[in-house]
């Protein structure tokens, strides 16, 4: 063993060159796409954010003007706030709900477990546009099913304009988002629960621990990596919710469902403010980087 290391050391340099060359050859196909369609646009995003860029003329360098304007734009802050609300509500709710469903269905017979797993995963495969369109119909003010049910079950007398009312619009968006995002976490939790060391649980139950205690003291710690992973993917997912906003509310009413994603799109393709949109993208990227770093740190501590 030690012999080998010496050999490696003397040949280290040459070997390293060889390894580096082959490695980059292997990396090349991926790197073309990664550099070309992720890194380069990212770089250009930062670069263009210092320009006043619009259609039909050359970009003009403006320094930090876009960022200054951004800091004074109430819609931007509103969008940031809404984005955070969506993330802060949907992430914990998704995790808690899917954990609860998973723990309930994992005790069922195998066929039932897989049937339920399937049902909860269906909205994910149905596709965001199809799901959005049918929800739009169900929320319709005039002949939507929610108003019909609400009125007939005596929950409310007046019709509720779900997507047109500032009080409800964001809630509706979050609810639809939830239905499309619990599928994967449930699948993950079911399998994580299956993999929990059964003997430990049994031992604890023999010792008189309640089900609750057994769950929190034994199962929960073992599922921590799964939970962290779910946190990460749900966060990414919630940040990216775009189709819902674009097709249901376009950010309205009165910007109550405006998110940063939609505001970037809006600035770019309705107002042609490309530089401004890019500045927003940069800010968003920084926020997400910080969030990811925090989650990554949490993951390493475990």
């Amino acid at each position: 063993m030690s012999n080998k290391r010496v050999v490696l050391n003397t040949k280290n340099h040459k070997l390293m060159i060889h390894e580096t060359a082959t490695s980059y050859l292997f990396m090349l196909p991926f790197m073309i796409f990664f550099v070309g369609f992720v890194l380069y646009p990212m770089f250009m995003c930062v670069y263009t954010s210092f320009f006043d860029a619009t259609m039909g003329r050359e970009d003009i360098f403006v320094g930090f003007a876009n960022y200054v304007q951004l800091s004074k734009d109430p819609v931007f802050w509103k969008g940031l706030w809404n984005t955070l609300i969506i993330v802060l509500v949907s992430v914990p709710v998704t995790c808690a709900f899917s954990l609860w469903v998973a723990s309930a269905i994992s005790k069922m017979p195998v066929a039932a477990t897989s049937a339920f797993r399937c049902i909860f995963y269906l909205p994910v495969v149905t596709g965001s546009v199809a799901v959005t369109v049918v929800w739009k119909w169900m929320f319709n003010n005039y002949y939507g099913i929610f108003n019909y049910l609400g009125n007939n079950l005596g929950l409310f007398d007046e019709r509720i304009n779900w997507l047109g009312d500032e009080r409800f619009a964001l809630g509706c968006i979050i609810m639809i988002l939830l239905t499309t995002s619990v599928g994967q976490p449930i699948v993950l939790y079911v399998s994580a629960l299956d993999n929990v060391d059964k003997s430990l649980v049994e031992a604890a139950e023999v010792d008189g621990a309640t089900q609750m205690q057994a769950f929190w003291k034994i199962k929960w710690p073992q599922m921590m990596p799964t939970t962290l992973y779910i946190l990460v993917i749900t966060t990414i997912n919630s940040f990216q919710c775009f189709a819902l906003i674009q097709l249901l509310t376009s950010g309205g009413p009165n910007n109550s469902t405006m998110t940063i994603m939609y505001y970037i799109y809006y600035n770019a393709f309705k107002l042609y403010k490309y530089g401004y949109g890019n500045a927003m993208g940069v800010i968003l990227a920084i926020i997400i980087a910080i969030l990811s770093a925090v989650q990554f740190k949490l993951g390493q501590e475990k």
Partner: protein, 318 residues
């Protein structure tokens, strides 16, 4: 004795809770199924039934009109492949490639959208799996200069929403003459580094000795990869394939920005543009939604086992 009572009470309570939770879950499951049910029945309802303020739970008679409207709205060739169509001046000579277009029969645009979507999802799936497997292998098994930096870049880029880079990407695609082609959607999907991350984690689980042994036997790097590494990380590749397929099928945003021509749309984009044109004509929208979702649901139900396996594996390793 007291203890026994306590235990009985506890057992009864837990049984009650179990029954309660089953009931609640069955109710919620119905709610989850309901939108899909509403799409499928809505697609066959008449206009009056759709507009009824008292919902029609089951179409009194299944009508085809919504599908007929959907199909007659727009038309496009089933496929078209064009080659050449450019010219360049070199050393005083003009090299020109005449443009050849091979076009399929004209069909309802919705058919073409399905073809586009399948092509897009399958192509991005294949390219992603190959490039990610190669990159993941060396990131896991080789020590080379720049590896650390590269890997951090990959991790950082993973959480990045596509909206952030949308404007530069659009400009880039137009410079590359890829705007309004299906490739403008495929390439960014392939560039998304999640696959590399996932397969790197998989490859790390393969004992280094196996790779080394193969090398000592005199196999080339490429052989080592195809004959030893790839078969070992196949489950991971399968998981990635499923991930990429679903992701690209539902990647509405990129499609929205990059595709314009009727013949280049994907099915979700097609439905979205239908909804813009017909806004509240929910019959035609449900027909389109059914067309968009039923194929992938069938694929999902057939490969359900692999889906769940793939998803779990992706999480465990990721």
């Amino acid at each position: 004795m007291n203890n026994q009572n306590h235990l009985d009470a506890q057992a009864a309570r837990s049984k009650a809770y179990t029954i309660f939770s089953y009931v609640v879950i069955i109710i919620i499951a119905f709610l989850f199924l309901f939108p899909l049910y509403w799409i499928l029945t809505g697609a066959f309802k008449t206009k009056q039934e759709i507009l009824a303020t008292t919902p029609v739970w089951w179409p009194s008679e299944f009508v085809k009109i919504n599908f007929e409207n959907l199909m007659s709205k727009r038309s496009a060739p089933l496929f078209d492949i064009s080659i050449g169509g450019w010219a360049v001046n070199l050393f005083g000579y003009r090299f020109s490639f005449a443009k050849y277009v091979i076009a399929g029969p004209t069909v309802p645009a919705a058919m073409r959208w399905l073809v586009n979507t399948v092509f897009m999802a399958v192509t991005s799936m294949i390219i992603t799996c190959i490039t990610s497997a190669m990159a993941g292998y060396v990131l896991a098994k080789k020590r080379f200069w720049g590896r650390g930096i590269l890997f951090s870049l990959i991790v950082c880029a993973m959480a990045l929403p596509k909206q952030v880079i949308l404007i530069p990407l659009l400009r880039e695609m137009s410079a590359l003459k890829l705007y309004d082609t299906i490739w403008a959607v495929i390439f960014p999907i392939v560039g998304w580094p999640f696959g590399v991350f996932l397969l790197k984690q998989f490859a790390e689980g393969i004992p280094t000795e196996m790779v080394e042994a193969c090398r000592i036997d005199g196999a080339s790097e490429w052989r080592t990869f195809t004959d030893v590494m790839f078969p070992m990380i196949k489950p991971g590749v399968g998981a990635l394939a499923i991930f990429t397929f679903i992701n690209s099928w539902n990647d509405y945003f990129m499609q929205l920005v990059m595709l314009t021509s009727t013949k280049n749309l994907t099915i979700s984009l097609g439905i979205a543009s239908m909804q813009a044109e017909n806004s509240t004509d929910f019959g035609i929208l449900m027909a389109g939604s059914a067309l968009a979702s039923v194929p992938i649901i069938i694929v999902f139900l057939i490969f359900q086992k692999y889906f769940t396996k793939g998803i779990t594996m992706g999480a465990v390793k990721g």
